[in-house]
Amino acid sequence: MFENFPLFPDQVSASAGKVDALYAFLVIVTIVFSVLIFTAVLFFAVRYRRRKQGELAKTVHSSLKLEIVWSVVPLILALIMFGWGADLYFEMWRPPTEALDVFVVGKQWMWNLLHTEEGQKELNTLHVPLGQKIRLTMISEDVIHSFYIPAARVKADVLPGRYTRLWFEPTKAGEYHLFCAEYCGTKHSAMIGKVIVMPPVEYERWLSGGAGSEPLDVAGERLFGQLGCQSCHGAEGNQRGPSLAGVFGSKVQLQDGRVIVSDENYIRESILNPKAKIVAGYEPLMPTYEGQVSEEQLIQLISYLKTLDEKDSN
C-alpha cells in the first residue's frame, strides 16, 4: 500500500543535513520518553490493578529525590536542544555576504521571480545555479504568503508592506517543489511552483537564452527619471532632498536623532511614506508615491539605488 514512501524529501541544501540531524535527535529523545511512559502506564495498569475487594494501596505522598530527578533530566535535555537549535537557527538566518540576489513578489496565487541579471523574469519557476548561495528578498502584493522549499528545509513568510529574507545553498541539481505554506485564500492549494537547480554553466546559458527584458537596475534608472526623482535627489537638481549616491547600506542620521542602516525596507518606506523617517537637515517636502509604483517597480528603483555608488565613483 505504501510503497515508494519517502518519509522525508530530498536534502538539497547545505543546511538540510544539519536540520535533519537535529530532527533525528528530537525523534530519538521523544521515542525514548514515549516508550518509557507507555511501558510505565501499561506495567502499572496490569501490576497494580485491583484484584479483590479490600486490598489497600501503598500510601506514598511524594518523593523529593524523584521530583528532582524528573525535573533536572528534562531541563538538561531542553538546554541541549536549545543550544543546538539556536546555533543552527542563527546560522540559517544570517544572510551570506556574497550571494546571488533574486527578488520575489507573491500575489494570489502566483510567484513572480525577478533575477537581477539579464532582466530575467519568471513565473512560478525559479532557476538557480548549483553550489552558489541564493539570497531571496521577498514581498507580497496582497495577503501573506509563505515561500517554502521542503527539499532545502527553508520557509519564510512573504508579507505585504515589508521585505523578508531567505537564503539557501543548493547542493544537488534537479527539480524541486515550491509551495505557498501560509493559507492565502481560495486557490491556496494551486499556488504551486518549482525550483530548478542547474549546473552553473547551464544556468548561464539559461540566463542569457531566454527572452530577457530590461535588467532591474536599468529599468530602475529609467523610472527614476520618469518619476522626476533627480530634480530633488540628483547632483544637478535643487538639492532639496539628500543625495542618494551610496545611500544603500549606509548609516543615515535621522531628524529625531536616530541612526539607522539604509536597507531595502527603509528605501521602500521612504518612497511610499516619505514622512515616516526624515533625514537630518532636510524638510519633509517629498510627496508620497503610494499607488503610483508597483512592487516590481519599487524593486527596480531599489536595484538602481544599489548601483549608484559604483556609477558615481566611475
Binding site: M1, L77, T186
Partner: protein, 597 residues
C-alpha cells in the same frame, strides 16, 4: 458517613424558595444548572464541529468526489462536490467551533461551574447573576455564527487564526465579505462571556471556601480552574481588543493591520498604514495561553480521577500545583513560537525558543507525578479511570511533539504542515477531550443522580483510543513529508500523490472515531433517564462534592462542610476503609472544628 445518603433530597431545599420552571432550568442562577446548560450546549456543538471535520477529511481522502447522500443536499450548485471556497470555510469553522464553542466553554463553562462551588464547599458562585449572564452571552455568539453561514460569500474562511490582510480585505476571500465580520462579533461575545466566568471563579475560590479549606487543601481540579481563570482574565482582553481592532479595520476602514498600497484581486485597497504582523502578536498573545486554558483544567480533572481510582494519594501534590502555575506563567512568554518564520529578529526568536523549551519542565513533572500516582496503587478501571490513564499516554505524545515546534530550525520546516495539525489534535483531542470524557463519566452521577453505563463506557474508551491514534498519528508522517495544511487539494502536487492512501486511512479512522462518539452520546442520553441510581458517593471519593446529595439541591449542602485534611487521603492508615473524606473528623480526635481551621 453514608448514613444520611438516602435522606430525602428535598431536605436541601429548605432554605431556598422553590423557583418556577423558567427560573429553575432556563434562566437559572444555580451554578449546577448553568454548568449542565454549558455541558449540553457544548456537546451539541462538539457534534457540529466533528461533522465539519469529517467533511474536511472527506475532501482530503476523495477530493472533488461526490459525498454520499449529503453531497446532493449541500452542494447541488457545485456539482454535488465540495468547492474550494466551501473547503476553506470548513476548516475555518471546524477550528472556530471546536476551540471557542466546545473545548473552552466545556472546561471553564461546564466543569468549572459545576465543580468549583461543590468542591470547595460553597453553596453557589460568588455572583450567581453574572454566572447566568456568562451562559446567556454565549447565545448571541451561537446565533450570529449560525447566521454567518447564510450571508453572501458564506461564513468566515480566513482560517481560525484570521490573519490580515486575508481576513480584513473583502476581495481577498469569499468568507471575507460579510462572514468575517460576523465571526468577529460572535467571538467578542464569547470573550465577554468567558471574562464574566473568570471573574466569578477567581472570586468564588478566594472568598467562598468552606471552613478549613486552605488553598493547599483544594483538589487539583479547583487549582487548575483557579489558575486557568487567572490566565484567561489576563490574556483574553488582548484578544478582545484585537478582535475589535479588526472589526474596525473592516467596518470603519481604520488602519491597524492593513499595510499601505495593497492590490488584492486587481482592486487597490484604500486603507493602509497598518502592520499585519501586529495582529499575529496580539492573536497569539491570547491564543497560545488559550492552549493552556484548554489543557490545564483537563489536567486537574485527570489528577482527581487518577487519585480516586488508584485509591492512593496524588503523587507530589505541591509540585503538581507549582507546575500548573509554571505552565500558566510560561504560557505568557512563548507566543512568538507561532511566528518564527514571519521575519522575526533571531535574538527575539531565540528568547521565545528558550521559554518554549522550558515548558517541557513542568509538563514532565506532571506526567511523572501521574505515573507516580499509579505506582503501587490499587487501580480500579472504571470508564473515567480509563480515560484518565489514556490521557497520560496521548498527552505524552502531544507534549513531546511540542518540542519539535520549540526547536526553531525544525519548526521552520514543519510550520504550516500537517505535523502541526497532528500536534494540536493530540493536545486537544487526546488531552482536553480525554480529560472531558473522564470528567463526564466521573461527575455524571453527581450531575444527574444516575451513573452512565460502564460497559458502553469502556467500549467508548477503547474505540476512541484506537481510532484517535489511527486518525492523528499518521498526520505527523504527512507533515514530516512536507504536506502543508489547509490545502483544498494536496494532490495538485505529484509529490504528494503517494500520501493519498495514508489520507484515506486517516479519513476512515476519523469516521470510526466519530462512530464511537455516537455510542457515547446514546449512553449519555439514556443514562440521564435510565441509568443506575447513584448514591451520594458512588466512587468512594474524598472531595466535598460527594458529601452533597446526588444531584445536589439548590444551595448544595445540608450543612456547611468543615474541612479537616487534603483531598487525597486514600488508603490512610487512620481508618479501616480505603478513603477518608475531607469533611470527616480524624477518628479518635475530638471533633473540634475550630481547631482544624
Amino acid at each position: 458517613m453514608n448514613a444520611t445518603a438516602h435522606h430525602s433530597e428535598s431536605g436541601g431545599h429548605g432554605h431556598h424558595p422553590q423557583p418556577g420552571f423558567l427560573r429553575k432550568y432556563v434562566f437559572s442562577l444555580d451554578h449546577k444548572i448553568i454548568g449542565i446548560q454549558f455541558l449540553l450546549t457544548t456537546l451539541v456543538f462538539f457534534m457540529v464541529g466533528g461533522l465539519l471535520a469529517l467533511a474536511v477529511r472527506w475532501q482530503l481522502a476523495w477530493p472533488w468526489q461526490e459525498m454520499p447522500v449529503i453531497g446532493k443536499m449541500l452542494f447541488s450548485d457545485t456539482g454535488n462536490v465540495i468547492s474550494p471556497e466551501f473547503y476553506t470555510m470548513l476548516f475555518t469553522m471546524h477550528a472556530s467551533v471546536m476551540i471557542f464553542f466546545v473545548v473552552i466553554p466545556m472546561l471553564i463553562g461546564a466543569f468549572a461551574n459545576f465543580c468549583i462551588p461543590l468542591m470547595i464547599g460553597a453553596p453557589d458562585m460568588a455572583f450567581p447573576t453574572l454566572n447566568m449572564l456568562s451562559y446567556w452571552f454565549f447565545w448571541p455568539a451561537f446565533l450570529i455564527m449560525g447566521y454567518s453561514f447564510t450571508v453572501e460569500g458564506g461564513a468566515a474562511a480566513a482560517g481560525w487564526t484570521a490573519y490580515p490582510p486575508l481576513s480584513t480585505i473583502e476581495t481577498a476571500a469569499p468568507g471575507s465579505l460579510g462572514g468575517q465580520t460576523w465571526w468577529l462579533v460572535a467571538l467578542i461575545f464569547v470573550g465577554i462571556s468567558s471574562m464574566m466566568g473568570s471573574v466569578n471563579y477567581i472570586t468564588t475560590i478566594i472568598k467562598m471556601r468552606a471552613p478549613g479549606m486552605h488553598m493547599f487543601r483544594m483538589p487539583m481540579t479547583v487549582w487548575a480552574m483557579f489558575i486557568t481563570a487567572l490566565l484567561q482574565a489576563f490574556a483574553l482582553p488582548v484578544l478582545t481588543a484585537a478582535l475589535a481592532m479588526q472589526l474596525l479595520d473592516r467596518t470603519l476602514q481604520t488602519g491597524f493591520f492593513n499595510p499601505a498600497g495593497l492590490v488584492v484581486n486587481n482592486v487597490t485597497v484604500a486603507t493602509g498604514g497598518g502592520q499585519p504582523i501586529l495582529w499575529q502578536h496580539l492573536f497569539w498573545f491570547y491564543s497560545h495561553p488559550a492552549v493552556y486554558i484548554m489543557i490545564l483544567p483537563a489536567m486537574g480533572i485527570v489528577s482527581d480521577v487518577l487519585s480516586t481510582f488508584a485509591r492512593k494519594p496524588l503523587f507530589g501534590y505541591r509540585p503538581m500545583v507549582y507546575s500548573v502555575a509554571g505552565i500558566a506563567g510560561l504560557g505568557f512568554v512563548v507566543w512568538g513560537h507561532h511566528m518564527f518564520q514571519s521575519g522575526m529578529n533571531p535574538a527575539l526568536g531565540a528568547t521565545f525558543m528558550v521559554s518554549t523549551m522550558m515548558i517541557a519542565l513542568p509538563s514532565a513533572i506532571k506526567t511523572f507525578n501521574w505515573l507516580g500516582t499509579l505506582w503501587r496503587g490499587n487501580l480500579i478501571f472504571t470508564s473515567a479511570m480509563l480515560f484518565a490513564v489514556g490521557f497520560i499516554s496521548v498527552f505524552a505524545i502531544g507534549g513531546l511533539s511540542g518540542i519539535f515546534m520549540a526547536a526553531t530550525p525544525i519548526d521552520i520546516y514543519i510550520h504550516d504542515t500537517y505535523f502541526i495539525v497532528a500536534h494540536i489534535h493530540y493536545v486537544l483531542m487526546g488531552g482536553s477531550a480525554f480529560g472531558i470524557f473522564a470528567g463526564i463519566y466521573y461527575w455524571f452521577p453527581k450531575m444527574f443522580g444516575r451513573t452512565m453505563n460502564e460497559s458502553w463506557g469502556k467500549v467508548h474508551f477503547f474505540g476512541t483510543f484506537v481510532a484517535m491514534n489511527c486518525t492523528f498519528f499518521p498526520m505527523h508522517v504527512l507533515g514530516a513529508a512536507g504536506m502543508p495544511r489547509r490545502l483544498a487539494d494536496p494532490y495538485h502536487y505529484e509529490t504528494f500523490a503517494h500520501l493519498k492512501d495514508l489520507n484515506i486511512f486517516i479519513t476512515i479512522s476519523a469516521l470510526v472515531l466519530g462512530g464511537f462518539q455516537v455510542i457515547f452520546a446514546l449512553n449519555f442520553i439514556f443514562s440521564i433517564f435510565g441509568g443506575e441510581k447513584a448514591d451520594r458517593n458512588p466512587w468512594r471519593s474524598n472531595t466535598l462534592e460527594w458529601v452533597a446529595p446526588s444531584p445536589p439541591p439548590h444551595g448544595n449542602f445540608e450543612t456547611t462542610p468543615i474541612v479537616y485534611r487534603g483531598p487525597y487521603e486514600y488508603a490512610s492508615p487512620e481508618v479501616e476503609e480505603d478513603y477518608l473524606p475531607q469533611n470527616v473528623p480524624t477518628p479518635g480526635a475530638a471533633p473540634v472544628p475550630g481547631a482544624a481551621i
